[in-house]
């Protein structure tokens, strides 16, 4: 596609529920990143994929968070047993390769009530 696409735009879920957030990167981009942005803060790194593999997941806050990219294109960020503190905007970015210009999607605003 023309840009990075994220769905849904907004997600409201109850505490304890499971959610999936989807990212469609720019076609041909091998690198894909997930970030989380809390109100008033800059985006914080969660995980980086090079192709199908998670090359760096050091930013995932705990084992409730997991992400996959099975075919090296679309990625899904999965959050189990959601907590109110998980409420934030989740941003996805892609780039042609590592150390090249990254482009961001519009984000998914997650609200845990």
């Amino acid at each position: 596609g023309a840009g990075v696409s994220q769905t849904p735009s907004n997600k409201v879920t109850e505490k304890g529920k499971y959610v999936e957030l989807r990212c469609d990167p720019i076609s041909g981009h091998t690198a894909l990143y997930w970030y989380r942005q809390s109100l008033g803060q800059g985006p914080e790194f969660l995980i980086y994929f090079q192709g199908t593999g998670a090359a760096d997941d050091s930013g995932l806050p705990n084992d409730r968070f997991f992400a996959v990219r099975p075919e090296g294109s679309v990625s899904t960020l999965k959050i189990q047993r959601t907590e109110r503190g998980d409420s934030a905007v989740y941003l996805c970015a892609s780039s042609w390769n590592w150390n090249t210009e990254a482009f961001f999607g519009q984000g998914t605003r997650l609200t845990v009530v």
Binding site: Y33, G42, P43, E44, W98, N99, E101, A102, F104
Partner: protein, 110 residues
């Protein structure tokens, strides 16, 4: 880890004014990007500028990697320039993630 600090944190301008935003970083980098986050939350790419100077219309940027800073210049500001400006860097030793700065919130009034 690397520290990425931006100044000023907040900036209020009247339309037509010029401004300079600064980004200081504490470690060697091989990638630096400037973004504008509009009021709807979209991060818009402004510059990919690991070093040197680039210009795009009313905006220009300069990165001096050896001195660990970058500057973003906005000339003849417009109300649509309002939002938060972030610089983000990739460390030489950690080239798989962008680390974002603290941001500069710009408000331009007519």
């Amino acid at each position: 880890g690397i520290q990425v600090e931006q100044s000023p944190p907040d900036l209020i301008l009247q339309e037509g004014a010029n401004s300079t935003l600064r980004c200081n970083f504490s470690d060697s980098v091989n990638n630096l990007q400037w973004f504008h986050q509009n009021p709807w939350g979209q991060l818009i790419n402004l510059f990919y500028i690991p070093s040197g100077t680039k210009q795009n219309g009313r905006l220009s940027a300069t990165t001096v990697a050896t001195e660990r800073y970058s500057l973003l210049y906005i000339s003849s500001s417009q109300t649509t320039d309002s939002g938060v400006y972030f610089c983000a860097v990739e460390r030489v030793v950690d080239t798989d993630k962008l680390i974002f700065g603290t941001g500069t919130r710009l408000q331009v009034f007519p």
